[in-house]
């Protein structure tokens, strides 16, 4: 799956789509493939203020717990409630129905700390 062109990426294999001051966050196709079958996602609570690159939850595969980091800082305004019953959506559609949470961006200049699709592609290798 090629990286969607309108996203920015973190070194921890998260993507972020920024629309005005709302950012949608998920994990990349490379990340979901590396993790294998995802069975549980623990997301930050709505209202929580999170810092860019902070450890804010977990994504669990059958065998392992992986820390989840946020590529952007701000206040959590929505989480993907569907993942409770269907965590596999993250595997199936990491850039679509498998989105994780939305953030009201505190500092738009934080975008400059993120990777472009082509820069991310360079690190998304085994």
């Amino acid at each position: 799956m090629a990286q969607p062109a309108d996203l920015l990426f973190s070194k921890e294999h998260e993507w972020v789509k920024i629309d005005g001051d709302v950012a949608t966050v998920g994990i990349t196709d490379y990340a979901q493939n590396s993790l294998g079958d995802i069975v549980y996602v623990e997301l930050p609570k709505v209202g929580k203020k999170i810092d860019q690159f902070g450890n804010i939850g977990v994504v669990e595969s059958v065998k392992a717990v992986s820390d989840l980091f946020t590529p952007i800082g701000g206040e959590v305004i929505e989480v993907n409630a569907g993942l409770d019953a269907d965590p596999a959506a993250v595997n199936r559609e990491p850039y679509g129905a498998g989105w994780l949470f939305k953030v009201k961006v505190a500092d738009p200049s934080q975008k400059s700390n993120l990777l472009s699709p082509s820069d991310y592609e360079a690190i998304a290798v085994d």
Binding site: G36, D37, V39, Y40, E42, V58, E60, S61, V62, K63, V65, D84, P87
Partner: protein
Amino acid sequence: MNAESPVKRTALYDEHVRLGARLIPFGGFDMPVQYGGILKEHDAVRHRAGLFDLSHMGQFILEGENVAAWAETLTINAVASMKPLQARYNIFCNPQGGAHDDTIFYRLDGRWLLVVNASNADKMWAHLNANLGDSGVKLTNLHGRNALIAIQGPKAVAMLQRHVDIDLSAVKYYFCAQGNAYGKPAILARTGYTGEDGFELFLEGADAADIWSALLRDHADEGLEACGLGARDVLRLEAGMPLYGHELTEEITPVQAGQTWALKLSKPTFVGKEALAEQLERDDFSRIVGLTMEGRAPAREGYAVFLGDRAVGEVRSGSLAPAVGNKNIATALVAKEAATVGTSLTVEIRGTRHQATVVAMPFYKRPQ
């Protein structure tokens, strides 16, 4: 991986690469954790059949007229009463009653085969040799030379039958037979670690890859899949089977692990006998229990377990269990007062306590 002990490869390594396996070092060998995905492989075993490479496990040949009597002094179960071609689960203990390893003995024609966990192959080889005494038993180490393939699942026996020259329906559970698979000599044992019917094939290393790829080729359209160690762990946990290092260790005894069905205290002497008898008598030991979690967060090895406010133990194994209503299941080593089936406990997961219930094992029983 250090320069002294490079990771070894089983006879099926090229097959794993061909099939796109994700490989990890395990027990000194590069082994497949998964191919197409753990849940997909688990599904194959529970509904059709799965193929496992177990050639990393230790295989020892024991010869001599005193094998059974000698083995009985080092293990908890009976050996001498095994019938020809019978297989039996057995545990080697240390003097404190803790487990060196859990194993399977096979009584073959004129010799015995002992299969041990891959992670304990070197330890067990040293242990057997150090305790030969004047038994006259001759030991041969086939670790890494002979191959072992398992085919497990409701369709496994029917699939295998088409390629072997003996009647597999005549081989009872926990018995084995000598035969040929695809024309190559094999010991075919009706044993397994999944809770499904199936066979384990002991093969010459040189024959293994051809038989493995032939089985996959001949039964792909019936849904036979290569399965890795990841799926194997979910399957054995659902089936309530202990995994050495988790439910049995040098500290956790067979009594604590619920394996007293394999304990024969009537044997005159064996390593650990006094300790295990005393442990049973005092009956105040912490013990392995099964847990089902109420929520979606999996319990994992090492998580603390509570009865009310009191810490009573820790999780030893845990996983999502697709064959147990897609619940999260676990084993835990807990204090006696927390161990009664039906007891409500909590498991601490990242600082939050999650509801769990003590349940009887196995969690899953195959439809009869």
